[in-house]
Symmetry: C2
């Protein structure tokens, strides 16, 4: 690629501006930079399905693989928290939580069963008004008046359970990815905990990383 000075001349902006733009491209793996050498285009980036910014955003991941995404809400229930759920959400056992269960499709094919657990105490609108088709980000904005600031994801491997198999289909007893996602808002407040059963035989989860 042209050097920073060439770009700033051609585009009529300062070199600092060019640098911030190139830094964003480099952070997502689109270009590779080396001091004293130059800036190079990553020709393999199209072989990946995710970038760091959108990782674990199922909708973008499905569409990054070239499919059309859709969400089917399965159930929205309110019930007392089990011990592990309470722990993840900093709740007391038996505090009320909302369990939102949804199925994500790539084209017409189910690729992920997502279970989300949210403390009932955070709800600002009637439970019945929740639209399960929305992106989790918009669900929090609209019905909980909270912004998701960051998430922490655990990646695990598991054998598909009979219950999950009912929704995802395919071979029984095969292994799938299990992503445990903790959602946090401002002040490091736990907003939700999610378990995603993710069929990696349908959807590739791949990403590029610069090394060193």
């Amino acid at each position: 690629m042209p050097s920073e000075s060439e770009l700033s001349d051609e585009l009529g902006v300062s070199r600092a501006t060019v640098r911030t733009a190139l830094a964003k491209l480099a952070a997502n793996g689109f270009i590779l930079r080396k001091q004293g050498d130059g800036t190079y285009v990553n020709l393999r980036i199209r072989e990946t399905s995710a970038q760091f910014g959108n990782l674990w955003d199922l909708v973008r991941l499905i569409e990054g693989n070239g499919y059309k995404s859709s969400i089917q809400p399965l159930s929205i229930e309110q019930r007392p928290a089990a011990e592990t759920e309470a722990l993840a959400l900093s709740l007391n056992t038996a505090d009320s939580l909302i369990n939102l269960r949804r199925l994500f499709f790539a084209d017409q094919r189910p690729v992920s069963l997502a279970d989300n657990f949210i403390p009932s105490a955070l709800l600002c609108e009637p439970l019945e008004s929740i639209d399960g088709h929305l992106h989790i980000r918009d669900i929090f904005r609209t019905y909980f008046h909270q912004d998701i600031v960051f998430i922490i994801t655990d990646i695990r491997s598991t054998i598909i359970s009979a219950e999950v198999h009912r929704f995802l289909g395919g071979a029984a007893g095969r292994s799938i990815l299990e992503l445990h996602i903790s959602f946090y808002g401002k002040n490091n407040l736990p907003l939700a905990f999610g378990v995603n059963y993710f069929d990696d035989s349908v959807l590739r989860l791949s990403l590029a990383q610069a090394w060193n």
Copy 2:
């Protein structure tokens, strides 16, 4: 956290310098920033085992989980490439490649079997001189005179095979993570292809991401 202006005053540097430093912290999830609001410390970052820069760097991942890492070389062989291997490395079928097989330990416990495939044509030193205890980065520097510039990783889930089970132990028939890693050098040149069988019951693979 203090604002950018406060930091630049207190530290006696320009605001631009403060910004580049904070940007690096934010990219790795250590701090969270919001325009018009402020900069906040991510109190949960210690619960993660990986940052974006060191993801899929097994040595750092093992030590990030609090273990001591060690590498046991199992075998270094030279043989013709099978079809899938040739495809991944842009070789012709039956071109010679080097198969480096190693076992990674966390403390004394095996956590990952790593198979790496490298075109023989890239080798610059005698095959026998290769030290299998080294980091893959140093193996390429020393024996192939190449720098790894970026990698692309596929994350999959699989049932542990009898062969892998011999090395990793644990319950037979359980599911593990299978990471397919392509290593690239300058000019988007494929340097190597690796398959990592990764026991996620021993080592947590978790990371933080800012959202939006």
